[in-house]
């Protein structure tokens, strides 16, 4: 099992409505799960909680057999660097670093021997960006930026990839390319959680979980969620 969420609830201090209510689910190796639902239903909260960025009020999050919130903040950061990859709708590339350096920024949090620049270059080549290594994010198209963000997420060979609306700003062609990469990652044995509004993107996942008011409303495939 790559990731497990056990009875997680989360209420933001400045909101009276609970963002997550007793959510439980599991992600196996090779599994590609899409989390759908209307705005404010708790999709992003679930993703951030699973990614070790947002401590839940109750419940446990286990990734790669480690209780994520049992770690200290710096241990959790190092854990994220090694095991979890993130892709966001806004790409969040560092504007003053070139493409290669943006990908290599993922090694800042790595302990021990970091990946070599060669691996970053190879990844970028896979994503069709071999001739863009020295370009700044401002010089790239939105599709290229998202592919750089994907390469950064994959640099440290994580076991879990969390993608929050990664196709939200992309045209159809680029969106397909990103979704292909997510599928490929799952095919290589990783687990993917895709948060999306886009039914077309959700359809690429093996499993679709619909969230409504912080709770899992439906599970459209063979359910792996814990009761």
């Amino acid at each position: 099992m790559v990731a497990e969420v056990h009875g997680v609830s989360k209420t933001y201090r400045d909101h009276s409505v609970a963002a997550l209510r007793d959510v439980s689910l599991q992600l196996d190796s090779g599994q590609f799960v899409a989390v759908c639902g209307p705005s404010g239903c708790g999709k992003s909260t679930l993703l951030l909680t699973l990614g070790g960025l947002l401590r839940p009020d109750t419940g446990r999050v286990v990734v790669n057999e480690t209780d994520v919130y049992g770690l200290s903040p710096n241990e959790r950061a190092a854990f994220r660097a090694k095991w979890i990859g993130f892709v966001f709708q806004q790409f969040h590339l560092v504007p003053y670093l070139n493409v290669l350096e943006n990908v290599l920024a993922a090694e800042l949090g790595m302990r021990g021997s970091p990946p070599t620049p060669d691996r970053a270059a190879t990844l970028l080549e896979q994503f069709g960006l071999a001739d863009r290594l020295q370009h700044r994010p401002g010089q790239l198209s939105t599709g290229e930026r998202q592919r750089v963000a994907m390469a950064r997420a994959l640099l440290n060979e994580p076991c879990l990839l969390l993608a929050d609306e990664p196709t939200g700003n992309l045209d159809e062609e680029n969106a397909d390319r990103v979704l292909d990469e997510l599928s490929n990652f799952a095919d290589r044995g990783g687990a993917v959680m895709l948060v999306t509004h886009d039914p077309r993107a959700a359809s690429r996942a093996q499993q679709q979980i619909n969230l409504l008011e912080g709770q899992i409303a439906s599970d459209l495939t063979t359910a792996t969620r814990l009761e």
């Binding site: 990614g51 947002l54 950061a77 993130f86 969040h92 560092v94 920024a105 090694e107």
Partner: protein
């Protein structure tokens, strides 16, 4: 990728933020170094003037010979000045006590003498007879200085030029002085003083001739340049510690005193000027430290605010709080270090230029202070790091979930 490369890239990307911070530190260090260098120049100039006056005093004093007279306490000074010697006597052991005392530091070259106006019976004329014993060595000093006067060898006499000429005496001649056979050892060149009609003989011979065994009526000395403006009181104080109130001290050579007073005045004036410059510089420096620290801190805070998204994603992909903090502190270190070096060069350059325009410009080497340079280069980064500390902590404590949820 490492933090250093990230910081360098960010500095290049946000040049204005970096340059404004840098400018604040350049102004701070430049002003501090410039002001301190000018103060140093002022102090150096004062020391040079004092040293020049010291040298002048030394030369004047040297040319004047003995300028301190120690007399018996009961000697009438009016009589002493009228005759250039006194009638009253004191024991020879006084000079030995002074020479043996470790408390005497303001005078050099002690020379006892017994002086009387006598009738040179063989020549039937009045002369000044001076019995001298040379310079008495100090017990507690190394006596490195060459004695100012030599003793008159026993059985000889030294004589003033006018008297020698009138008596047709030549060096090497033998003559009788009140029954005492003496060889002319030396004829002094004309001085235009009573010395020209004086005869010097060995002190003991003079004491025997005058029937004043173990008595002297004058101790001559040379004051050193270490005394303050109230040098005579200092010398008197030292001597009275050894001889009590049995003697009195008078000082000759007003030229030397005038120079000594000028030296003290120059020193005091220099100290006042330096103190005034220091007061002004300190006030402005404190204000500049505060202003530049606040500016650097605010710019660092602005930098943190601008980079919230970047910090959020770096934290999300695993960068530790320590590395985030180091990103900002390293930048502060660069601002401090580069600002200090440029500020030092500018401040020092301006100070040298200003000093060159003053009346007695000093050479660059004498204005350069290695410790000040090291101090500036170390202190400026400390200031920028302290000023950036709170923004750096603020950045490292940013919640990435909050930042990433803002999409």
């Amino acid at each position: 990728m490492n933090v250093l490369r990230l910081v360098c890239r960010e500095i290049w990307h946000r040049k204005l933020n970096f340059l404004v911070s840098l400018l604040a530190i350049i102004v701070l260090v430049g002003y501090a170094v410039g002001a301190l260098t000018l103060i140093r120049a002022q102090r150096e100039r004062t020391e040079q003037r004092v040293a020049a006056l010291d040298d002048e005093i030394r030369k004047i004093t040297k040319s004047l010979g003995f300028n301190i007279n120690i007399l018996p306490a009961d000697q009438n000074l009016a009589d002493f000045h009228a005759n250039d010697f006194g009638e009253k006597t004191m024991p020879f052991e006084y000079v030995q006590r002074l020479a043996e005392s470790p408390d005497i530091v303001t005078i050099n070259h002690l020379r006892p003498a017994l002086i009387r106006k006598i009738e040179w019976q063989e020549q039937q004329r009045q002369i000044v007879l001076m019995g001298v014993a040379g310079v008495i060595p100090w017990t507690h000093r190394s006596n490195p200085k060459k004695p100012m006067t030599e003793a008159v060898p026993t059985g000889t006499l030294n004589i003033g030029s006018v008297l020698a000429e009138q008596l047709q005496l030549q060096e090497g001649d033998t003559t009788q002085l009140n029954g005492l056979e003496l060889k002319v050892n030396k004829i002094y060149p004309e001085r235009g003083t009573k010395d020209d009609i004086t005869v010097w003989i060995d002190l003991q011979a003079a004491q025997n001739m005058l029937e004043l065994p173990d008595q002297i009526n004058l101790i001559q000395a040379l004051e050193c340049n270490c005394a303050s403006v109230d040098r005579l009181a200092e010398i008197e104080g030292e001597i009275s510690q050894v001889l009590g109130s049995d003697v009195q001290v008078i000082e000759l050579a007003t030229k030397a005193i005038a120079r000594a007073r000028a030296r003290v005045d120059v020193q005091a004036e220099g100290q006042i000027t330096v103190a005034r410059m220091q007061d002004r510089a300190t006030l402005l420096l404190v204000l500049l430290v505060l202003a530049s620290s606040i500016l650097v801190g605010l710019l660092a805070l602005l930098n943190v605010w601008e980079r919230q998204q970047e910090i959020g994603i770096l934290r999300a992909i695993g960068t530790s709080t320590g590395s985030i903090m180091w990103m900002f502190l390293l930048k502060a270190l660069f601002v401090g270090l580069i600002g200090a070096i440029i500020g030092y060069l500018i401040g020092f350059g301006i100070a040298v230029r200003l000093d060159e325009q003053s009346a007695n410009g000093l050479i660059v080497e004498s204005l350069f202070d290695f410790r000040m340079m090291v101090f500036a280069i170390l202190l400026a980064p400390i200031i920028t790091i302290i000023a950036s500390w709170v923004p750096a902590v603020f950045a490292s404590n940013q919640d990435p979930a909050t930042v990433l949820s803002m999409e």
